[in-house]
Amino acid sequence: MIKTEVIVGKLRLKNPVLVASGTFGYGDELIGTIDINKLGGIVTKSLTLKPKVGNPPPRVAETPCGMLNSIGLANIGVDKFINEKLPLLRNFDTAIIVNIAAKRIEDYCEIIKRLEDTEGVSAYEINISCPNVKEGGLEFGTNIEMTAKIVNATRKLTSKTLIIKLTPNVTRISEFAKVCKEEGADAVSLINTVVGMAIDIKTRKPKISTITGGLSGPAIKPIALAKVFEVFQNVDIPIIGIGGITTWEDAIEFMIAGAKAIQVGTANFIDPNTPINIISGIIRYCEENKIEDINDIVGSIIVETFPH
């Protein structure tokens, strides 16, 4: 029996495979279609204080081995989530990680306050890295002081595991991870989407209504992996790896590079069973390689030289 449990902050995950925010609804969409209980955890769609209708269409476009999105954080708002979704999710034997987005520090705090009063939240993931909203979003995630302030403020409000979701659209992501650690975050998840763009050459209009959007999918996997390794090498904080993970081999790559857990995003759109297949693939890999504890994979990269 392979030991698959991993610990991220105070959070025990029965296995390291989570589903990424915004790619699995609120966790209820696929009830009956896939076996939710097998997941290491669910990260919810980003919740804001008030409901948001999101950006005008077109919101998605395919690019080579990837996709652009500009959903604009369309969501039902934290209250409706608490009342209508959380009661359902509580019944599942999986971690519920609530992803939070806001335009102002006070709003991040208010959302956490409301969630602290309820049952069933396993951890928070703070989204400071959405490229598709005018305020907050990337402006926070590319600003190191703002990042520090948000972590500091939210940390004070909860003893639950606090995960900060970082953007790759910065020169040195490890500086951001460092600040997160200093301000008391339990973990970082990386990466959110990469700013990208596509144009319809017939109409000469952008394929996404907000002109640029967030690039996700296999195309960004090498970028995400480099960011995970950069943080792993430079900052002593648990990492949740995200970006283009589609197969169990991809997941193993991220774990070898230093990720304690991983999230599956865009791949859910292609096959909602991807996370389940990844879990069994990882277990098979452990068996074949005589690895008894999945944690032994984490950061097991063999390097001779060092990157610059």
Binding site: T23, P57, R59, V60, C65, A74, D271, P272
Partner: protein, 257 residues
């Protein structure tokens, strides 16, 4: 209930200029499908094209499901070259389907271009329900008209090569004005599918004539299953609905194209 299955291709044939029809063996999805729903196809095992592609259920025959498509880009090109016997990964049936419980005697089907896709199946079910059917089908030219599965058909072609010379919207105007529809609008229900400009025009006319109308709306999709919020369609109250879950069939009164 969403069904994901590896389905066998039973036939793949050109049925018009650049238009192909594929028949797939899929007992589960066939049984579960309703007219207006769609299936989502992964055309390649590799990562390019990456996302599934949505196609209306063109018809259901026993345990087989048919789709019809235009070759417009890489996924449809790959699909058009699939051989009989090859396997293909499909998810379905998706979306809401047409509402046939309204009180109407006559269905007025309006199809532009590949907007024909959902109607052979709809026609079949309407016939079972003993509804009258009037079909208006438009295409750019005769070689792109695929009329199998339609009944009581009036056609329009942009170049006049077959039927009325002009658009299906003009044909719609002609038929509606020469008919008793304007007098007894409640007896009629319009079902429309086609390019956005055509749907806009039809919706405007239905608004004016106070006709009950459902349209099938195409929006770029990433998941087809309500996960991504990508397929937003604007509603008249300034919010959005999802083409893949709340649609692709919408009542014309609800949306703003």
């Amino acid at each position: 209930m969403i069904i994901k299955t590896i389905s066998t291709i039973l036939s793949n044939e050109p049925v018009g200029e650049n238009i192909y029809r594929i028949e797939l063996l899929s007992p589960e999805i066939s049984t579960a499908s309703k007219p207006g729903q769609f299936i989502n196809i992964k055309v390649s095992e590799n990562l390019d094209p990456l996302l599934r592609r949505p196609f209306s259920v063109y018809n259901v025959i026993d345990d087989r499901i048919q789709i019809i498509f235009n070759v417009v880009g890489k996924a449809t090109k790959i699909l058009s070259s699939k051989k009989v016997g090859e396997k293909i990964d499909i998810i379905g049936p998706l979306g809401n389907g047409f509402n046939l419980n309204d009180d109407f005697d006559t269905a007025l089907i309006v199809a532009g271009g590949l907007g024909i896709a959902p109607f052979p199946f709809l026609t079949k079910i309407l016939k079972e329900k003993n509804k009258n059917i009037i079909s208006l089908v438009g295409a750019r030219t005769k070689s792109q008209l695929v009329l199998d599965g339609f009944v009581n058909v009036n056609t329009a072609t942009d170049d006049g090569s077959y039927g009325h010379k002009g658009t299906v919207v003009e044909l719609f105007k002609l038929k509606v004005m020469n008919n008793d529809i304007v007098k007894t609008p409640s007896a009629f229900k319009v079902f429309a599918c086609g390019p956005i400009p055509m749907l806009k025009a039809i919706i405007e006319l239905c608004d004016k004539l106070n006709l009950n109308c459902e349209v099938s709306v195409e929006a770029p999709m990433a998941c087809g299953t309500g996960l991504c919020q990508g397929c937003a369609v604007k509603t008249r109250d300034g919010k959005y609905k999802l083409a893949c879950k709340d649609g692709p069939i919408f009542n014309s009164k609800d949306i703003l194209l």
